[in-house]
């Protein structure tokens, strides 16, 4: 009996010694409380977003990013934050045609919702920036937005003991351009939406989730008659391309050509996601369409003449009922 116990004890000791060795090699320093890697909450039917390895989400990082997002410390005169235009309770946009920066300076393009920004690869209406981290620099330095200097923002944060402590807890580093941009992007990636009536219709195969008009609108959306789906495709209702949709004959804002310098890119802008579209008026890069009725009328007309206009645009011949059904269907894409 005694012998058996000895064997068991030895065995347990051996197993323990082995495990201890593994743990030692994997964890170099004690983890800050609240900084254990977690996963973003992703609604059913949405893929898990691509997350950079150096910026896996943790409670501390998301909390720090959220605090920075809503802190006017980022603007020159400490009056506006990211959240001034990307309103928390309004799908992270502001329903304004154009938004005001510091000293009521009016911006040049419509504020998009940043819900599902985690799925975007090229940022802004013209796709001029290739990473979410780098995107964060632009509104801080834009003279019409925060009109500040990222180096000076970092200096402000370094003088703030509360922030110094929070950066330490989140990244084990000082406030810097690197950690500032990582924290905000870490928070922004957590803004994932995908719980609309249409999602329930798709997930549960529940036809009662949509009305007859909405169901007809869905058909129009996905068939050649309405022909919305060529560009507004996939789980986020965008093919992430840049297109000229013929809203002007002459574009005051050259759009993607402003980035590339190519005349073929004049008037091309991002194809936006249509999630929450009924709640995020006005529409287009300059907010020039106040309602979905105007948007549908525009596409139904085939748009204005422009050499770069997408060949998909053509008169659609939708009836008044068709248009209303499409609008009703778009209403089913709003998150609760």
């Amino acid at each position: 009996m005694f012998k058996q116990n000895i064997y068991w004890l030895l065995l347990i000791a051996l197993l323990c010694s082995c495990r201890r060795e593994i743990e030692k090699s994997e964890v170099e320093k004690p983890m800050q409380t609240g900084n254990e890697p977690m996963i973003y909450a992703v609604p059913k039917g949405m893929p898990y977003p691509e997350v950079p390895n150096d910026n896996l989400p943790t409670k501390n990082r998301i909390a720090l990013g959220k605090q920075l997002f809503f802190d006017p410390i980022l603007s020159r005169d400490s009056t506006i934050s990211c959240g001034s235009c990307h309103l928390e309770n309004n799908f992270f946009q502001d329903n304004m045609r154009l938004s005001a920066g510091i000293q009521q300076r009016l911006g040049q393009r419509n504020t998009p919702s940043i819900v599902n920004i985690a799925y975007i690869q090229e940022f802004f209406w013209d796709g001029g920036v290739a990473s979410l981290d780098q995107q964060i620099l632009a509104p801080i330095e834009n003279p019409l937005e925060m009109d500040f200097d990222i180096v000076k923002v970092v200096e402000r944060l370094q003088r703030n003991p509360v922030y110094v402590d929070k950066f330490k807890q989140a990244y084990d580093k000082e406030p810097s351009v690197y950690t500032l941009t990582r924290a905000i992007s870490c928070f922004e990636r957590s803004l994932i939406g995908g719980k609309s009536r249409y999602d329930r219709f798709l997930q549960n195969k529940d036809t009662s989730a949509l009305t007859a008009s909405e169901l007809h609108g869905e058909q129009l959306f996905f068939n050649e008659k309405g022909d919305c789906f060529h560009c507004h495709t996939g789980f986020n209702f965008t093919d992430n391309s840049f297109r000229n949709n013929g809203i002007y004959e002459v574009y005051a804002d050259s759009g993607r050509a402003h980035i590339t310098g190519f005349s073929l890119d004049v008037g091309r802008f991002r194809v936006p996601s249509l999630r929450n579209v009924a709640k995020t008026a006005p529409y287009m890069h300059d907010g020039s369409f106040a309602s979905l009725e105007q948007v549908i009328d525009h596409y139904n007309s085939g748009g204005k003449k422009h050499p770069n206009k997408s060949s998909l645009l053509r008169p659609l011949g939708l009836s008044e009922q068709d248009k209303q059904d499409l609008i009703n269907f778009l209403g089913s894409l709003s998150d609760d």
């Binding site: 012998k3 920036v129 620099l137 980035i259």
Partner: protein, 270 residues
């Protein structure tokens, strides 16, 4: 009987533990085998020496400071408020004509700084030096938020980066000038009435400087190459009176192209 079962169980368990433990060790990197082909031994006779660039930014034969009034070749008076530019892709041209790249070296030049260390290079005779004014395409499109504060490619204050389109401004030359036909503009608060700015950037405006006929030797003491950048040549065929604003794109693109053509002619070794 029971005892035997326990013993054999114990031995089996130990074996499993050992095997699993060993597997962990096997994941350690295996030593790299020395290839059969003979390796050229490190030549300890090759000596290296520290090399640096001193850069003098000049206009009208004088240092390009921010207080003097300078004149372009067409007779337009101007004052400088800011002059900064990147130098990258630096290569030394060896005696045999081959090039020795100074890797990962980016210089952010401004008139307040004179000496720019390039690191150690082999001693010997060189035919000259080549470099680009601006930032190479790879660095221009890399994530600029990742650099430590002191790195020339890190975000600067004031900024020398287009954050709305992700790219460095290769050369930022700003000031004010006299655009009157009679050159009779009066300085107000020490400035002429008209501002000018040349923001040269984007991959296609990365200009290459070839000074491969400016021979020099690196010997027993640290070597300093004296580079001069002459702003007079920046204005070749550029009429500051009319051509005084470019962001390198849109309507300013042709002027930026002109500047790109002029930039290589600014540089010489003294």
């Amino acid at each position: 009987m029971k005892n035997t079962i326990f013993k054999s169980l114990f031995i089996a368990a130990i074996a499993i533990v050992f095997v699993s433990c060993k597997k962990k060790k096997e994941e350690m990197p295996t030593p790299i085998l020395i290839p059969a082909t003979p390796i050229v031994p490190i030549d300890t006779t090759i000596k290296t020496q520290m090399l640096s660039l001193s850069i003098a930014n000049m206009a009208n034969g004088k240092p390009a400071d921010f207080s003097s009034i300078f004149t372009t070749s067409t007779g337009v008076r101007y004052k400088i408020e800011s002059l900064r530019y990147y130098i990258s892709n630096i290569r030394l041209v060896k005696a045999d004509g081959s090039e020795l790249p100074i890797k990962d070296k980016y210089l952010l030049v401004n008139p307040a700084m004179v000496n720019y260390p390039l690191g150690a290079v082999p001693v010997g005779d060189y035919k000259g030096i080549k470099f680009g004014v601006g930032v190479d395409s790879a660095a221009n499109h890399a994530d600029n938020t990742k650099y430590p504060t002191t790195h020339p490619l890190a975000m600067q204050s004031p900024s020398i980066y287009w954050s709305w389109k992700s790219g460095y401004i290769f050369m930022m030359f700003e000031g004010n000038c006299d655009t009157t036909d009679t050159q009779t503009d009066v300085l107000t608060y020490n400035q002429f009435s008209k501002s000018f700015f040349y923001h040269i950037g984007m991959d296609m405006l990365y200009s290459q400087v070839d000074l491969s006929t400016s021979a020099f030797s690196v010997g027993n003491v640290p070597k300093e190459i004296k580079l001069e950048a002459n702003l007079d040549n920046f204005f070749t065929n550029i009429d500051l009176k009319k051509e005084n604003m470019t962001h390198s794109m849109g309507a300013g693109a042709p002027l930026a192209m002109k500047a790109k053509g002029n930039i290589p002619t600014m540089f010489s070794i003294k």
